[in-house]
Symmetry: C2
Subunit: 595 residues, 2 copies
């Protein structure tokens, strides 16, 4: 089984033959997409990465070859020589549909068992089967397109940053475990018994060191690792477009990155993004959309009705406000008739997953107003609410009363969920926005201290520096995220390059000088020898490619992804290893009974 190519060499790819090629002698190689045996004629659709050509065997060839062709099945690998000719029944669905190749020579380069996956985009097989037979799944046209677009995107990234004086520098994969941030993947050292490397969560410190080193402009497309519980569309290893620049402030970074984003969409999708890209402060984003990555392709903005109901007899509302929370609502304008009580109840369940204790609602129909909370509210309160919400017939109003973070989180996500359920999001529309003026700190309830929202080297906005000690929660950071269609595609900040400011920052984080040195000693040491003002950004490449390919599944843009339990169904990684292998790196497995 399996002939060699012999002297045959491909002259053409299966997807490129056209009427202009009629009369040419060609050699094609590829996989059998399908074959039809009509007795005296055999038609085969031969597929390679560029497309499909129809090849024909008729009685002009030797019986031997014809007999060989009769044995051919789906996914056999063939090499054929033949003459391009006009096709009798034209297939307008494929670019090669006007021609076919009359075969004069056939080699079966490899046979194939019946594959467990049909090689077509809508095979409807379970994702686990797709992942186990990934090499077959990747034969599908849409997966090949996704991988090619990803490669093209990477090329555009590199071309752009290269043209703009950025130097691609490789940073190490075997790095020092990080004291702050997400959980590290650890790598035991053989040469240094009892010690461990960590895989990088990002090259953050290394790229800042490159700025100290005078590299001026750095970029890299780089694998990063976070050992976190995997939500949908997260992978333990992911790819980052990592950028850092010296002698810049926010505007310089935003401006060059807008040119980059423009180029990316122009060259990949022929979409001309309007520059400058819209900006919105973190505060505005939270107030209007409840999230710091708002999808601006639809309305349903959050409206604060706290003032109206602050003294309401409806205690669910008023007591929430009195204890520092708020009551806000969204108006699902013009879609009231799309939601039954059952639907609304399902929305309430959804809101509860974000911590809301319940969902108050008012529905305005042609037959009047229904609302389970109406009876608790005074008439003028109710009227004021309708007024504030801009309520009209066929609107559905949804309210959450809770502490601020829960109100934002539940209504912000509910807003997205409702739009998704209504199917009103136009996937061809693009909404881009920079979110700026993030808080520098957030309060960690577990650790009972402020932690850096971005990372401890993010610079505060100059006008807020005086608040560092007195009101750290009010200090805004020189940080920015780029949000596309409600997803954070990238983010970054200007870094602190001033050691006294850095000390104040550490103090605000509750670190003693000693602790700061222990955690970040080598960076602080580096900062003593002349550090330029610098800042940068990092994009999630996987997410960008999802947006660019309209994929909803991150695994559709990665060749060999992992499942949500961080396994590879194709290779069966991770696996057990021998005692000997563990001994060599000075560790043992430690399985606790109660796990």
């Amino acid at each position: 089984m399996g002939e060699s190519m012999g002297n045959l060499r491909r002259t053409n790819l299966c997807g490129e033959l056209r009427v202009e090629d009629i009369g040419k002698e060609v050699v094609l190689m590829g996989w059998v997409q399908r074959e039809r045996n009509l007795g005296s004629l055999i038609f085969i659709d031969l597929r390679d990465t560029t497309g499909i050509s129809q090849i024909v065997f008729d009685d002009t060839i030797s019986e031997d070859i014809f007999k060989k062709a009769e044995k051919v099945k789906s996914e056999y690998v063939l090499a054929i020589k033949g003459k391009v000719r006009k096709r009798q029944s034209i297939n307008k669905d494929i670019p090669t549909g006007e021609i076919e190749v009359l075969v004069s020579e056939l080699k079966i380069l490899d046979e194939a068992q019946t594959p467990p996956i049909y090689i077509k985009d809508d095979d409807n097989v379970s994702e686990n089967v797709r992942l186990k037979y990934r090499y077959l799944d990747l034969r599908k046209s849409f997966m090949q397109k996704n991988l090619k677009l990803r490669a093209k995107a990477a090329k555009i990234v590199r071309d752009f940053f290269d043209e703009n004086g950025f130097i691609e520098v490789e940073t190490p994969m075997l790095t020092k475990p990080t004291p702050e941030g997400a959980r590290d993947y650890l790598v035991p050292s053989r040469v240094n018994p009892g010690e461990f490397y960590a895989l990088p969560q990002s090259p953050q410190l290394m790229k800042q060191l490159l700025m100290v080193a005078g590299i001026d402009r750095y970029y890299q497309i780089v694998k990063c690792f976070r050992d976190e519980d995997l939500r949908a569309n997260r992978q333990p290893e992911f790819t980052q477009i990592d950028v850092e620049m010296s002698f810049v402030d926010i505007e310089d970074i935003i401006s060059i990155n807008e040119k980059f984003i423009y180029k990316l969409f122009k060259e990949l999708k022929n979409i001309e993004i309007e520059l400058p890209i819209k900006r919105m402060s973190y505060k505005e984003a939270m107030n209007r959309f409840g999230v710091d990555k708002p999808d601006l392709r639809f309305g349903f903005e959050l409206i604060d009705i706290s003032e109206i109901v602050s003294n309401s007899e409806f205690k669910v509302f008023s007591s929430t406000i009195q204890s520092g929370g708020s009551v806000r609502g969204i108006n699902i304008k013009g879609y009231g008739d799309q939601f039954t009580r059952k639907d609304i109840s399902s929305l309430e369940d959804y809101a509860k997953t974000y911590g809301a204790k319940g969902l108050a609602w008012i529905k305005l129909t042609e037959n009047g107003i229904t609302s389970p909370v109406a009876k608790f509210l005074r008439e003028e309160e109710f009227k004021a609410i309708l007024d504030k919400m801009g309520a009209e017939e066929n609107d559905l109003l949804l309210f959450v009363a809770d502490k601020q973070s829960v109100v934002y989180d539940s209504l912000g996500n509910l807003r997205n969920e409702v739009a998704k359920r209504l199917g009103i999001i136009d996937n061809n529309q693009l909404s881009l926005v920079w979110i700026t003026e993030f808080p520098l700190f957030e309060y960690d309830e577990d650790e009972k201290r402020y932690v850096a929202k971005h990372h401890p080297f993010t610079a505060p906005m100059e006008e807020d520096i005086d608040l560092l000690e007195s009101s750290p929660e009010k200090v805004r950071a020189k940080a920015y995220d780029i949000v596309i269609n409600g997803d954070e595609m990238g983010g970054g900040s200007i870094r602190i390059n001033n050691s006294s400011l850095q000390s104040r920052m550490f103090k605000a984080l509750g670190f003693t000088e000693e602790e700061a040195n222990e955690k970040f000693g080598f960076l602080l040491e580096a900062f003593k020898y002349g550090t330029p003002p610098h800042g940068g950004i990092a994009y999630g490449l996987d997410r960008l490619i999802m947006t660019l390919t309209n994929s909803s599944n991150i695994r559709d843009v990665i060749a060999f992804p992992k499942t949500q339990s961080a396994t590879c169904l194709l290779t069966d990684a991770p696996t057990n290893v021998s005692e000997g292998q563990l001994k060599e790196v000075h560790i043992k497995v430690d399985l606790e009974k109660n796990e």
Copy 2:
């Protein structure tokens, strides 16, 4: 300390100003390379990644600024505004040597302590200090040049393969531990207790799966990992240019790669490599040079004198031959007078490190012949040896008698060492050669079985397939290495795409079907569904960059390298981690007392 840039924005880089810019107002930012205070005049050399500009402070500026300038020391970070003017004493050593900038505005962006490293190429500091303060070391002009050339090389690689229809595909970093080959770096899994990932030694299996997936042409610049004892110029993580193609045989791969190598040298060094590149079989390389990566820039080829001395009374020679070994020599032609007895004795010590038991020698001077072995040899034997070796006055002949592998290894390396000691290797000369027809197997003395020299999926040469069972040691592989100046820069092979041949290969390696499945199950499974003929190559990028920059130290072409004990002196990785972190990934440290 540390002013902000305020409204100042760089207009120019320090290395780019020329006489054409005279009269222009410019803003420069950079580090103080040196400052000279002449009382009423202060000169500062301001450095950024592009070069140096001289900036001048005189009495035309305010006293405040002048006083500020007086405080400036080496490696301070400055932003200055000023006017370009002609320089009085021209400095022909730097491209900006005809101009200077008269400063009107100065901001000290950051101060600097006295750095532990002078920022100049020949600072003569120990490598450990260089690595600890890498961010200062990287400020040196030659290190910046090396990193820039590396980035440019990566760009050329990507442009070339991209233009030729290759698709860049990212393969996983968290992979399955490999049963064959070098030692893996292991990564314990948190989600799958007791199980481990391995960092990839190379994406070999993944790229073959991409060929099964119909990707057709793949490339990637990718980090690979081998936990081996580090010899000089080895790093635990290294970067590979990884390439694989479908529907090809050796000639197709060599031909496209020659075009790639041509482009690389042309664009980076303006050197036009002669195509096609020379080829040499493994056998010829071993016979003539003793190594499979011969440096062709000098002579001193190996000459076999076994036939002459096979029956010699000098038992050291004859008994070696009778027990299957050989006696070979090299003629250090024309350099006899360069070697004293002490030098030769040192060469003998060198040969012994490669297993030779001794080094026989004959030196021909104008005063006659000296040789410690002459007395053991019959006159006609001695004469025949001189004759065979082409010996003339001022030659030094060096011989090793041993089993084949030791003769090759010791003489082959000795040949290189002698040329190095003589300083006769022209670093501007390039010698490229493909080594082909490698043996498919080598015998593993420890495991007492044949192991794959390349890897178990390498195809045998068609004319040798019949020898697989009868004389596996004679089977040559469809494998090839590209050797530049005596270093292997890359290598690859055509892979087996025929399952019956693959079974015979496994049998030859001593694997039962079960073992083969256990080790390579998923690849063998993949091969059942239609595998195209395919093959590829991988280049060591670090080594290529060493060659392209004439570096002798691999750490000079890597931004943040590790020491020979696999540590990072900058960050102190690897380090201890907390018990808690280890518990989370279900391992404990296991330090044996007797280690």
